[in-house]
């Protein structure tokens, strides 16, 4: 399988009163359709790495290649298009837009990409609500749902554009064990069904052990890369 994500000698530093170096010469690639986790202690640099993969942050040096293209050559608008088309994000917080309903939130990536919301798009959104098991709350306002429902809506939104890369940063950090189990089952189903590449950042080793590849980061360096 071809690499859909490829990090080449990526360094990341933050400027401040004292410059802080977070990542050191990261070389890492993920194959299309793989199911991966990045683990590490709090402050190890795993979230920074995920944000760089998601083009939300830029490396201080080194290169990120997505879908065979060097992102350093893309301007802000092209980067936004790439994010909209190819990447789905889920964070520990759901980041739903409280001014919109759950359905509107899920349709948002389509609307941002200037795609028409026709019958087939709406049908796909409804299928995602079914897949997430939250069909009955799809017309609720985003802030009128439980935490688990909000996080599942956020996952449905991340999957709406059928992205090739799905990035999740502690996606079940705020959920109970029952919701956590359901959500990882859904991730696995989507991975198998659509061939979506999953990269999940977690500090929970039990969750990481459910993935096919575990990359461990410590103090900004890869200390383990285990393919199971």
């Amino acid at each position: 399988m071809a690499n859909v994500v490829d990090l080449r000698n990526v360094d990341k530093s933050y400027r401040g009163a004292v410059d802080t170096r977070v990542l050191f010469g990261i070389n890492l690639a993920f194959e299309q359709g793989s199911f991966n986790s990045i683990v590490g202690e709090s402050g190890s640099g795993k979230s920074t790495l995920l944000n760089i993969i998601g083009t939300l942050d830029r490396p201080t040096s080194g290169e990120l290649w997505l879908e065979g293209r060097a992102t350093s050559l893309l301007n802000a608008d092209k980067m936004a298009e790439l994010r909209n088309r190819s990447i789905g994000f889920v964070f520990q917080s759901h980041y739903l837009l409280p001014e919109f309903s759950a359905m509107d939130n899920v349709l948002m990536p389509q609307l941002i990409g200037n795609r028409r919301v026709d019958h087939s798009v709406r049908k796909r959104a409804e299928e995602l609500f079914d897949l997430m098991g939250i069909a009955r709350v799809r017309n609720n306002m985003a802030n009128k749902m439980s935490g688990g429902q909000q996080q599942r809506t956020a996952i449905a939104r991340a999957l709406m554009n059928n992205p090739r890369i799905f990035l999740a940063d502690e996606p079940t950090g705020n959920l109970d064990s029952e919701n956590t189990a359901v959500i990882y089952r859904i991730f696995r189903d989507v991975n198998r069904q659509f061939g979506t590449t999953f990269i999940i950042v977690t500090h929970d080793r039990r969750i990481a052990e459910q993935t096919d590849r575990i990359v461990e980061i410590k103090d900004g360096r890869i200390v383990m890369d285990l393919l199971r």
Binding site: N51, A80, I112
Partner: protein, 384 residues
């Protein structure tokens, strides 16, 4: 259009804040419309009462002989130029009338009623009796009639400077809106006055109204060139009312200053509130950017918020301003019971005020939008 949809949702999600900012806009625009229209109406009323019901250009003798010969030829030339809206020959002289041993100075004004009517709007000014004047009939003004306690049908004894006395019948009473005129002018038949003053076939002045009262000085200059007669003197109201014109100009400037200040305060107030909105919605903007919304579209949300607030607030403001003007017109009354100012609605001014307010509000949105450009999704996500 997604930015519009988001802008509407953002505004609706905080109804009190939106209502407050829209009300602020409405109040500012209402004051702008009210003050602008009121000052405009005041100026128009002042010009109306000073100039519109009187000649704006007067041709008289420029020599020691106070009468004009061959005046019909002069009128012919004036009419051919097409510079005047109405032309009225006048033969006038001073006179007095005495009642209860009190002397009242008068100006006996001989006119052709139909021509004088086009300048003085006598048809509207005559409030009792008739407009037609026969050989021994006169029209007198409201104040003179009150002082003499005269009514239509009463006699009026007019004494000329040469001592000759003539008895006239008061055929009608007029009100030209100026007490000094109403108190002194006695309007009579042209031929009668010519006979009494010994000016057969002659007149003392030619009165003209012009299409644009503010161009009276230009018309006077053009007529002087056309007539090319050094024995004639051509006066215009602008030269005779320099103080009034100065006051009108000052009023206009003060109105403009008020409106500029209002517009600036609108821009500052709305941009401040929208800047706060950018902060309030930074989480949403951040996540929209993470999902791939482009910077321009994200900024457009706040420009559209400014536009929507501007459109709604300014429409409400125009309605409120007109309501204030209507209330002012209803509650303010002059000594005669009528309104002190004749309110005129200048639709052009309203449209311009509305458009400026909308543009100012949109500009305020643009200032807020610039802040949103700087929003980086990673900052929002890092904050959690």
């Amino acid at each position: 259009m997604l930015p519009l949809r988001i802008a509407v949702r953002f505004l609706c999600s905080n109804p009190w804040q939106t209502a407050l900012i829209t009300s602020g806009m409405a109040v500012a625009v209402s004051i702008q419309v009210f003050v602008g229209l009121l000052i405009g109406s005041l100026q128009s009323s002042l010009v109306d009462s000073t100039v519109r019901n009187s000649p704006q250009v007067t041709i008289s003798s420029g020599t020691s002989v106070p009468s004009i010969y061959a005046w019909d030829r002069i009128i012919g030339i004036v009419q051919r130029t097409g510079l005047s809206a109405a032309v009225s020959p006048v033969t006038a002289g001073s006179a007095v009338t005495i009642k209860d041993e009190k002397t009242y100075p008068l100006i006996l004004k001989g006119v052709h009623i139909a021509e004088a009517d086009r300048i003085y709007r006598l048809r509207e000014a005559v409030y009792a009796g008739e407009l037609y004047v026969g050989s021994r009939e006169v029209l007198i003004g409201r104040e003179l009639a009150a002082e003499l306690q005269s009514r239509v049908g009463d006699r009026l004894n007019i004494i000329l400077p040469n001592g000759n006395e003539t008895i006239f019948t008061i055929i009608g009473l007029y009100d030209l809106g100026t007490a000094a005129v109403n108190k002194t002018w006695v309007i009579a038949n042209m031929r009668t006055v010519q006979q009494l003053l010994g000016l057969q076939g002659r007149i003392t002045s030619i009165e003209l109204s012009v299409p644009d009262v503010f161009a009276a000085d230009i018309v006077a200059g053009d007529l002087a060139r056309e007539l090319n007669n050094s024995e004639l003197k051509i006066d215009n109201w602008k030269d005779q009312n320099k103080e009034l014109l100065g006051a009108l100009r000052s009023q206009g400037i003060s109105s403009t200053i008020i409106q500029v200040v209002i517009i600036f305060s609108v821009i500052i107030a709305i941009s401040s509130v929208l800047a706060i909105t950018v902060l309030q919605k930074s989480r949403q903007i951040g996540i929209l950017k993470a999902m791939g919304i482009k910077d321009l579209s994200a900024s457009l949300i706040f420009v559209l918020e400014g536009l929507l607030v501007g459109l709604t607030g300014s429409l409400l403001g125009v309605g409120l301003g007109l309501g204030l003007l209507y209330a002012f017109d209803s509650f303010s009354s002059g000594p005669n019971g009528g309104s002190t100012i004749k309110i005129s609605i200048d639709y052009g001014f309203i449209i311009i005020s509305w458009a400026i307010a909308v543009a100012a509000s949109t500009l305020a949105g643009l200032i807020a939008a610039r802040r949103s450009l700087k929003l980086n999704p990673i900052d929002v996500i890092r904050e959690g």
